[in-house]
Symmetry: none
DNA sequence: CTTGACCCTGACGCAGCGTCAGGCCACATC
DNA sequence: GATGTGGCCTGACGCTGCGTCAGGGTCAAG
């Protein structure tokens, strides 16, 4: 096979193959009389491994060293690539989950601490963070579902979501200001509306899950601050109302 | 604050701050008499945002535009970031699938043929043209819908989708080879199946939209080449069948 | 007043290619 | 056999996001 065909098959440019040849990463095993590069089947196999390692973010130099190590054979490479890919995918998924959380937080008017964002991208143990995230958010299904839904929301959808959230909060604040106890049926009804808002817009939120969220509203400073900015003690009030609503169900 | 302090605080090099100054990404709001860069609190705030966006993989140019354009808000960026992450995850998953197949093939002593390569890395990979697709169709409802659906597809789903597409193409090719005219009911029926395949798997595709797609199948070389590789004239044939089907509806 | 740790502005280098430029091959068509 | 047309070749320069000197001014302490 000549460069053009190989490039098309591999989804890279001819220039890229030239470059890989020049740096000794993938040197075609033959040339035609006219000097055309001729790629043999073995070259294509190496090409596939180059592509995979490159996809994984290795530098060309690293890839070359990996593939030129005579102690490691093709099958070893493939197995290693499988592991690396699995790690990488898991890591990206945890990043995606974080971004989703940022989107949710944003839609409620809360800015995520950039510090927190950076934690994920730093050189920390990815599994550790994934566990922590799962601990905080309880259910991975909720993530997946939330992401699936919100990723198709238009700007207008987001405005609606925000308006709904606003409305619920306003009603909570009003109930608090007129002195209704948090377990009053009128207030737990607002909590129920809140739960259904989440279920409709983000993910199926059971009363138990909702109670979990409520805990976070007081435990997480940012959420607490968000509510308390509207009215002093609102975070605790919402928490109590949600708990009362969950108990009633 | 001067460069050294800011660099230490932010965990970047002084050279990096120089660079960001030079390209207008983060220009300190003051200079001392001696020409030393003087960073104000507002500069540090901007720095935080730069760091965050940079971690998220935006180019410096993009970051500058994001921060300097008051019309776009952070929510948009986060959502865009969600999409990019979903794309990358999907891509890595398909690479992982290929590697797994390569392992199986290897352990059975079978060589992997170049066609397999193309499936993942080449022009038949469904995620490969994601960037271009966004550029061309990013604003359309169809794109948004398609992305929302496909982002939740598993590896197995993709295999099904591909098999369905394969089947439709095979039937078209067969109809062509036995000499059926493109507007024969048996052929427009295949076109209809094709349309419903798209509607089920990607986005609601009206007959009109389908006709538009058909135009592209002959106009866009890559699509044309894709069909014509299976059988000479197939792109045009599919185009005609789809048009006839659209007219009949 | 010196010393050493800062700061400044160029300027070059690096990866991993994209993108011409200039020229040779291959195959089809007139 | 001439003439396209398109693919191949080898340079060579450009780009991003800085690292890394080089040559020189500045500041606070001793």
């Amino acid at each position: 096979m000549n460069v053009g065909q190989v490039a098309a098959a591999a989804g890279v440019s001819v220039r890229t193959l030239h470059h890989w040849d020049a740096v000794g990463l993938l040197v075609p095993s033959g040339r035609t009389a006219a000097g055309y590069r001729a790629y043999a089947p073995a070259d294509l196999e190496r090409l596939q491994q180059v592509l995979t390692y490159r996809e994984l973010g290795f530098s060309l130099d690293d890839v070359r060293r990996l593939l030129d190590d005579p102690a490691v054979d093709a099958l070893d490479h493939l197995r290693r690539q499988q592991e690396l890919l699995a790690d990488r995918i898991a890591r990206l998924q945890s990043v995606a989950a974080l971004v989703s959380r940022a989107v949710e937080a944003r839609s409620m008017g809360i800015e995520l601490d950039p510090h927190e964002l950076r934690e994920v991208f730093g050189d920390e143990d990815p599994t550790q963070h994934a566990e922590e995230a799962r601990e905080r958010w309880g259910d991975t299904d909720a993530y997946v579902q939330s992401h699936a839904r919100t990723s198709s929301y238009s700007k207008a959808d987001w405005l609606e979501v925000k308006a709904e959230g606003e409305d619920v909060e306003r009603r909570f604040a009003e109930a608090l200001s007129v002195g209704l106890p948090a377990d009053d049926p009128a207030v737990t009804a607002i909590a129920e509306d809140h739960r259904q808002h989440i279920s409709r817009r983000f993910y199926d939120c059971s009363p138990q899950m909702h109670a979990c969220l409520a805990d976070m509203y007081v435990a997480d400073e940012r959420f607490a601050a968000h509510y308390d900015r509207r009215a002093a003690g609102l975070a605790q009030y919402v928490h109590d109302a949600v708990k009362a609503n969950a108990d009633a169900r």
